[in-house]
Subunit: 162 residues, 2 copies
């Protein structure tokens, strides 16, 4: 069955985490004697559970061809996980679900938008589009099993609106 | 006096923090069924002192014209601070010092290199080059005074090697 792809907005994504972008709505403060603007605290890093700590990593993802099929999701019970594209032209799809047996939602991230999955949020691994994509990742390192995978009750097909 | 500008390498920057790049030397693991490569834990986020937490922000910096003069540094006694450019073409200068009365060192960050200043490291605020630059910032929010500024014993001039 086809899953509709929505625009990625803060309001629509709020049940799953935070959108990391510089659009209207972010509190902006002038810093460094006015030479820079800071969009402060767009996302909260939540990684201290069970003796964890936050680390910064990079991921290089191969692009997916569309349409593609999504039939499994994963979640990290011990920490948040943020992905931010390192090129503003890099588009990618974000697939999340409020429960493993709920209908997932798919969002198209554009214009350098990043996402921060709240701790425990079901999501699909990176679905880079168009080209090989580099992403910055901020997530948890530490003891314990922080990755759970599960099959969706049915497969969903993703395609961009034409 | 002119401060020489060095290439930004992990070895040269090690006394001050971590370089966040994907060059040789980073441990690489295949993830997501082989569709992505992860350069894991390039930098450690150290923000839990004095009741702090880690947050993700964005900064838009105006470019500096060169030569420019550096005469003050700042440091964050309660947490690390990472800057990663959100466009691989964005160059910037990194100025750090092992002590406020030590001779600073200047590095040119290229090819999407990010830096993570270790907690308490003296550094200059963002010195974007060439164009307006967007950076992702991972640092500390929370109680306490986490910014200390001080004048250098002398002013230093920065210029790129011709």
């Amino acid at each position: 069955m086809r899953l509709p792809v929505e625009a990625l907005t803060r309001a629509a994504f709020a049940p799953f985490g935070e959108v990391i972008d510089a659009d209207a709505g972010a509190a902006t403060v002038a810093i460094n004697a006015g030479t820079a603007q800071r969009h402060a605290a767009l996302a909260e890093v939540d990684t201290s559970h069970a003796g964890g700590r936050a680390v910064i990593s990079r991921v290089r993802a191969q692009p997916r061809a569309l349409p593609c099929t999504v039939n499994r999701l994963e979640r990290h019970p011990l920490g948040s996980q943020a992905f931010v594209p390192l090129d503003p032209a890099q588009r990618y799809l974000v697939v999340v679900a409020s429960a493993i047996d709920a209908v997932p939602r798919a969002f198209l991230a554009t214009n350098g938008q990043g996402v921060n999955y709240r701790r425990g949020t079901w999501h699909h691994p990176l679905l880079a589009l168009d080209r090989v994509g580099d992403f910055l990742v901020v997530d948890r390192a530490g003891p314990g099993d922080n990755c759970e995978e599960a099959a969706l009750p049915q497969a969903w097909e993703l395609q961009l609106p034409s």
